[in-house]
């Protein structure tokens, strides 16, 4: 039982699960709740209970009771979870500030899944093969990113922006996904910020934030990344660090202080928090004539349920001239995951695509012209799913990062 170090710390949460099953089946239209687990739904007719929280908790109860061991087979199930946190949300939802459900005090499902993953890694049953590659790339001295690209490639885009400083109060953390896979979005971000005369610094010494390793359960691999990145921002004299990636945002703002056991010496912001300040001070030079567009917003799990950042992105969208924000049936705390998180996209790409298609169809139901979000991981998965859709569905909606959408309006 010695390999259960992390799960044993979660014994209260695991044993407090009452097996009600709302984490798999809840529908409560009066409060916008339409089902809970994207993995279970994507599995469809193959959706045995082990694919959602209740069944997993039952397995963990048996593990803590010493009836079954950790195993490679368990790892295969455990990583088919995007860690979206929707199970936690439904488990805690009383819908009213005057009524608190007991489970909200004892159970945080994502923490339980993280503990399981850490124990699987420590016992040698994980990482799974593709996850192993990502972590190896991330730790490789010539790469320092999970995409297996040469480290210098992450910073090539900077050559187009000589005005970027090496030291400033406001620093940008580029992360890996945008500079290596969605570099035009970064350039568009600079277009917006330059138009608003924002001073910012970027360092070529930053490494991957380590989000992917943390989601996989390999906390050890993150410690040196964390130390490096914090030291880099200290050296830059940054008072605020912002990022355009929801995963980096959660990692810097929530995970780093937790692992360090102390607050960071700088504040961490998401790009939408920068954009809302610019919009509020009328510092974004939008084109004068704008076509009317109906836009729907997807809440990235790492911004919404994980970090409670729901309204600022909506405020940003609402201030774009000619734009009407329309909500999907499932939004904010009830939002459906895109399917990419928790290592699902890299290890179980078909599952990630199935979940993502479901979300795009939900966006189409709103009649919106544009599906936007503020997470490069969600965008990447949406675009992959979108490309798989029938042309007649593609004609109904476009998928675009919020940064690119704003840049198209200035």
């Amino acid at each position: 039982m010695s390999e259960l170090k992390n799960l044993k710390k979660q014994w209260q949460a695991i044993m407090s699960c009452m097996n009600c099953g709302d984490c798999g089946y809840a529908i409560r239209s009066s409060v916008g709740r339409y089902l809970t687990c994207p993995v279970k739904e994507a599995k469809g007719d193959q959706g045995f209970e082990i694919y959602f929280s209740r069944g997993r908790m039952n397995v963990l109860k048996s593990i803590l009771e010493g009836k079954i061991p950790l195993s490679k087979e368990l790892a295969e199930f455990a990583y088919q979870c995007s860690e979206c946190g929707n199970c936690t949300e439904v488990c805690h939802q009383s819908q009213n500030e005057y009524i608190i459900l007991p489970t909200s005090k004892w159970i945080d499902h994502v923490e339980v899944w993280n503990a399981l993953r850490k124990d699987l890694v420590e016992a040698g049953y994980a990482p799974l093969d593709k996850h192993r590659n990502l972590i190896d790339y991330m730790n490789d001295e010539t790469m320092r990113n999970p995409y297996g690209e040469d480290e210098s490639k992450k910073f090539e885009w900077l050559s187009e922006f000589p005005n970027i400083k090496q030291k400033a109060d406001l620093a940008f953390f580029g992360g890996c996904t945008m500079p290596l896979r969605q570099v035009n979005t970064l350039k568009n971000m600079m277009k917006i910020l330059n138009a608003s005369d924002i001073d910012l610094a970027i360092s070529k010494d930053e490494w991957c934030c380590g989000s992917i390793a943390l989601r996989i359960g390999d906390e050890e691999s993150v410690k040196n990344l964390l130390e490096r990145n914090v030291a880099v921002f200290k050296e830059m004299g940054a008072k605020s660090v912002f990022t355009a990636c929801a995963g980096c945002y959660r990692t810097l703002k929530k995970d780093y202080p937790e692992i360090l056991g102390e607050p960071l010496p700088f504040e961490v912001k998401h790009i939408t928090e920068i954009l809302i300040d610019l919009l509020n001070s009328k510092n974004v030079p939008f084109k004068e004539e704008q076509d009317e567009q109906k836009v729907t917003y997807h809440d990235p799990c790492h911004l919404g349920r994980h970090m409670n950042l729901y309204e600022i992105p909506r405020d940003v969208i609402s201030q774009i001239p000619g734009v009407k924000l329309t909500e999907m049936k499932r939004n904010r705390k009830n939002a459906w995951c895109c399917g990419a998180g928790g290592g699902v996209k890299s290890q179980f790409s078909d599952l990630a695509l199935d979940i993502s298609k479901d979300r795009i169809l939900e966006a189409i139901e709103t009649g919106a012209d544009i599906l936007t979000t503020s997470c490069p991981f969600c965008i990447g998965n949406f675009i992959d799913a979108y490309n798989d859709l029938e042309p007649e569905l593609q004609e109904k909606i476009k998928v675009i990062d919020l940064i690119d959408f704003i840049a198209s309006k200035i």
Binding site: M18, N19, C20, R28, S30, V59, Y98, I99, L101, P102
Partner: protein
């Protein structure tokens, strides 16, 4: 891979069957914290034809089959009694087959949840009346019918969910498929009524706890959801058990039509305030019990008349009105607009971490429940020594008691009573002695309540066998029940062991 597995795989295809150890453990428990039965196989059929074939194979191979709907049973009803058998996960049977808007009858596959059905019906201004069990967000229609479920809302007005039942399609344990109610006449175009065409064989499968057949299609009456509703919460005076029973009795005797009415004992109120679960009650000076009502009406005038009648009864019984808003303490408003909630309905559960139920659910006349609650208090004191042993490990005291007392149809209430205790895993370590004490105390308390003459409706593993073990059934009744079982399930395939029908083995 066994021959049995291959036979079953040929029926449902490989994607819908598993004998994986982890999958089997994921289906091995229900809500209680003791009973576990790990099945040999979990199978997810799509329709009555596949179920029929599975049951025929199970008879050939002499292996038990345990039907499972939402899996919300508190007493081990939808997992095997021993580590054996085939769990039949019925959640793939989740379609709405037909809504007969003229005759207000809906026909669904039995694995659909109450929540999903009502979400559909609200598009037409309809609802199921009784909204199923308190676990209705997950619980299936078939499971509700198998237990006469109440608790999800509306049972003071509509009664148990089986009251609305029109007809069933049932796969018998030997694989034959039958239609009941109006559909027993093969010339009937659509389900419209339950009674007639001979004896009420539909009733055989209502509340059968899954022993006589597997429900695959269910036809229910549905009702227009009234446009107007009111909901009020009151704090009770001293002697709250007697006063609450008096209020319920007066409401019935005066013939006032209430949708829901619940009494929450002082112990619930006290713990919920003490542990900061109900900020809406923080302002209360006295931590006494609560009573709340919900009424529905087709006009504002009708609503006001009912409200006035009920408020008069509350006033005469010296109940204190808490105010109209949830912030004032009006839990009735939250309960109705949210259609109830599992965790609220069983609100001692989870008050402390890992504290979960060893309870059971029964019906009893209104005038019987105050003495049941008193006897449970006495039982709690008498078993202090055993309870103390759990306390010494968990550092919190297990609690005997009841969740809300719920007015149902007739002059009856529903009580979820029992023992709320702790898992044998504490602080990451296993303490098997806790399980032994829990099981002993659970059975002891259920025996006490049984001997108060209650009618258990959700019985599962533990209560169905306890009734037999303590000789609570009349001998002739039990023999009849067993003979029916032998007739329709000669190999005792279905839910083997419930009611101690073990068969030849």
């Amino acid at each position: 891979m066994s021959e049995l597995y291959h036979k079953l795989e040929r029926i449902v295809k490989k994607e819908h069957i598993s004998n994986d150890l982890l999958v089997r453990h994921s289906y091995s428990r229900n809500v209680d914290l003791i009973l576990q039965g790990v099945p040999d196989i979990v199978i997810r059929p799509k329709d009555e034809i596949e179920i029929s074939e599975i049951l025929k194979v199970a008879n050939e191979e002499n292996i038990t089959v345990i039907p499972r709907g939402g899996g919300d049973c508190e007493f081990g009803g939808s997992k095997p009694i021993n580590n054996e058998g085939i769990v039949l996960d019925l959640k793939r049977l989740n379609k709405i087959i037909h809504l007969d808007k003229d005759n207000l009858v809906v026909t669904v596959e039995a694995g659909i949840s109450w929540a999903k059905l009502n979400d559909y019906l609200c598009n037409f201004g309809l609802y199921t009346g009784c909204m199923g069990p308190g676990s209705g967000m997950t619980a299936s229609i078939g499971g509700g019918i198998s237990h006469h479920s109440v608790g999800g809302g509306g049972c003071a007005k509509y009664g148990a969910c089986t009251n609305q039942l029109v007809s069933l399609e049932v796969v018998l344990p030997t694989g034959e498929i039958i239609q009941t109610g109006s559909q027993a006449n093969k010339y009937s175009q659509a389900p419209f009524n339950r009674f007639g065409n001979g004896p009420d064989l539909t009733g055989l499968f209502c509340g059968d706890n899954g022993i006589y057949g597997i429900k695959t299609k269910v036809s229910l009456q549905v009702f227009p959801k009234p446009e107007f509703a009111a909901y009020k919460t009151f704090q009770l005076p001293r002697k709250e058990r007697q006063v609450s029973a008096q209020i319920m009795s007066e409401i019935r005797h005066r013939g006032i039509d209430v949708y829901d009415l619940m009494y929450l004992m002082d112990i619930l109120v006290r713990f919920e305030i003490q542990e900061n679960f109900m900020p809406m009650w923080d302002h209360l000076k006295r931590k006494r019990g609560m009573i709340f009502y919900t009424i529905e009406a087709n006009s504002d005038q009708e609503l006001q008349v009912k409200e006035k009648q009920l408020d008069k009864i509350m006033d005469e019984n010296k109940c204190e009105y808490l105010g109209s808003e949830i912030a004032d303490g009006n839990i009735a408003k939250w309960h109705y607009t949210e259609q109830g909630h599992w965790q609220f309905y069983h609100n001692l559960w989870g008050i402390f971490p890992t504290m979960q139920p060893l309870t059971a659910e029964c019906f009893t006349p209104i005038n019987n429940y105050p003495s049941i609650l008193d006897d449970i208090d006495l039982w709690d004191m008498q078993h202090e020594e055993d309870i103390q042993k759990i306390f010494e490990i968990c550092q919190k005291r297990s609690i005997a008691g009841s969740g809300p007392i719920l007015l149902i149809d007739g002059n009856n209430v529903e009580i979820t009573c029992g023992f709320t205790s702790f898992w044998s895993v504490f602080d990451g370590e296993v303490h098997p002695e806790i399980d032994e004490i829990n099981l002993k105390l659970w059975k002891s308390l259920l025996e006490l309540v049984t001997k108060k003459g209650v009618q258990w409706y959700m019985m599962g593993d533990v209560v169905s066998r306890l009734m037999v073990d303590i000789g609570a059934y009349g001998e002739e009744f039990y023999e009849l029940m067993k003979n029916i079982k032998k007739t329709i399930d000669p190999n005792m395939i279905l839910s083997r062991g419930k009611f101690n029908f073990w068969g030849n083995e």
